[in-house]
């Protein structure tokens, strides 16, 4: 454990996980909003919107995240000139958030769409019968019920998102996996303790998260 008693290494360890937390937090919010929007598009009566939602899901679910992140950097930033911050690392961070969000939104969209599928037909029919519009039906009747059915999938998606945040390291953010790589390069004698500390930190945060979502889903399950 001598590696982590060196304050410099310990700070690096902390800063790596801080980036992961920040990436996960910001991306989770963006992906949720974007994903619900996409799901609404996919079930909407407007064909172009449906097609757009479907295309989004098929493209991003079938492309490796590494490439999505790569395109955010080399496509959005380098080619299209989209600068999200003047600070080098904040810019990489936000580009990473854009990449993680667009990718994760595809999975959120599909989770929400299948959540909508669990709402009995009669509910939507009743809503329409009392004169609610498509948007109202979705917002007031269907989504609140679907929300309960998507809690468990959302848990899996959030956990995956947190782990996927390590991929932002490929465009130069010093997040956990990059820090671990550097520490191993400098401390070849302590490879296993270093791995256990990093993997253990992820496990310590994510396993309880998984159980929490499982518990929540059970508690809030719509009894029919």
């Amino acid at each position: 454990m001598h590696v982590f008693t060196d304050p410099k290494n310990f700070d690096a360890y902390l800063s790596g996980f801080l980036w992961i937390l920040k990436l996960t937090g910001a991306s989770a919010v963006c992906a949720l909003v974007l994903g619900v929007l996409l799901a609404a598009m996919r079930v909407s009566p407007v064909p172009v919107l449906r097609g757009f939602g479907a295309a989004w899901v098929n493209i991003f679910r079938n492309t490796p995240l590494t490439l999505v992140i790569f395109f955010c950097y080399f496509g959005l930033f380098v080619t299209l000139g989209l600068t999200l911050s003047d600070d080098l690392f904040r810019n990489i961070y936000w580009l990473g958030v854009v990449g993680l969000s667009t990718y994760t939104a595809a999975f959120v969209c599909e989770a929400v769409r299948s959540g909508i599928n669990t709402v009995p037909t009669g509910q939507a029919e009743a809503a329409r019968a009392i004169g609610l519009s498509f948007a109202q039906t979705l917002r007031i009747v269907v989504l609140p019920q679907a929300a309960r059915a998507v809690i468990a999938p959302f848990g899996s998606i959030l956990i995956a998102l947190c782990k996927n945040a390590t991929i932002v390291g490929t465009i130069g953010l010093a997040e956990s996996s990059t820090i671990m790589k550097d520490l191993i390069n400098f401390n070849g004698d302590a490879v296993i303790p270093i791995f256990l500390v990093f993997a253990g930190t992820f496990a310590a945060v994510l396993i309880p998260t998984g159980y929490f979502f499982g518990w929540l889903a059970n508690r809030l399950a719509v009894k029919r």
Binding site: F107, A152, A203, G214
Partner: protein, 291 residues
């Protein structure tokens, strides 16, 4: 299948007009965005012929892309086989009546589901050699990493599937004198696998995409060969990445389409898992959003 019809009435004349107008507005906005991206790429000289010309040459394909694709498919294929085996073994292990089997099996599955694949591959490649006192080829670092992670996810899928098989099935099997292993192997697992097919396939797509992380240990897969090495020769990194993305999308779409066909084919015989089987039954389409 379509839920759309449930959420809104069959469009009348006014709704049709409104939908058409919305379609046009959104369509135009989308085309505008595409055109803007096109001009920006043009301004950045990303559309010059020499960037794209290498892809018209057979050499590019035979020497970079196809070998890379082969390496990707090889790692994915072996990874898929091992993940499925790992998934079944640990699902059964976790359902065991003996706590000394179910608890460790559960711990292994939970641990590997929670650790990023990037860390896993990295550890297998750099750390494992110290433990086994021998080299770990990049191929196996990738495959082992993929197996541990995706196998754990599949184990949970199988477990949910096995638990969702109607209780009468195993009761009937025991009644005709089958042993526990027979009930599991002949009755429960085949049904669970068929019912969970969509989840299993979406996880296999995740696995295929995750081979892209092999670059970290210099495994010569599609991204390493098709983006890094190819662009070192031709200096066309963005063009190369676009072509590789298209290849990934085609392969994964084929895999998904194949699964859909398989699903429809077996739909008549398989039991359907009830929608409310419980939160452990993840919805197929959600997948795990692997890298």
């Amino acid at each position: 299948m379509s839920t759309s019809s449930v959420l809104y009435d069959h469009p009348g004349p006014r709704a049709k007009v409104r939908n058409a107008v919305l379609s046009v507005i959104f369509g135009v906005a989308l085309l505008g965005l595409v055109y803007w991206i096109y001009t920006k790429f043009d301004q950045a000289n990303q559309l010059e012929a020499w960037l794209w010309k290498p892809f018209a040459e057979p050499k590019t394909w035979t020497q970079f892309i196809l070998p890379g694709l082969w390496a990707t498919l090889k790692a994915a294929g072996v990874g898929m086989m091992l993940s499925l085996a790992f998934g079944i073994i640990f699902a059964v292990g976790r359902l065991s009546e003996h706590w000394w089997i179910s608890v460790p099996a559960g711990a292994v599955v939970e641990f590997f589901r929670a650790v990023p694949l990037l860390l896993m591959i990295f550890f297998v490649f750099y750390g494992l050699p110290f433990l086994i006192q021998g080299p770990v080829p990049a191929f196996w670092a990738v495959v082992i990493g993929l197996t541990l992670y995706n196998g754990s996810v599949l184990a949970e899928a199988f477990r949910a599937g096995i638990r969702a098989v109607p209780g009468g099935q195993s009761e009937a099997a025991y009644a005709i004198g089958m042993r526990k292993s027979q009930v599991m192997g002949i009755v429960l697992i085949p049904q669970a696998a068929r019912a969970m097919l969509p989840i299993i396939v979406s996880q296999l797509v995740v696995l295929l995409k995750d081979t892209a992380l092999g670059y970290i240990v210099a495994y010569p897969e599609l991204l390493a060969r098709g983006v890094n090495d190819l662009s070192a020769n031709y200096g066309n990194i963005i063009a190369a990445a676009i072509v590789m993305a298209v290849i990934y999308i085609i392969i994964n779409s084929l895999l998904t389409a194949f699964a859909g066909w398989l699903d429809r084919r077996s739909a008549r015989r398989a039991f359907r898992i009830p929608k409310q089987a419980g939160p452990v039954v993840m919805d197929s389409t959600a997948g795990t959003a692997g890298a």
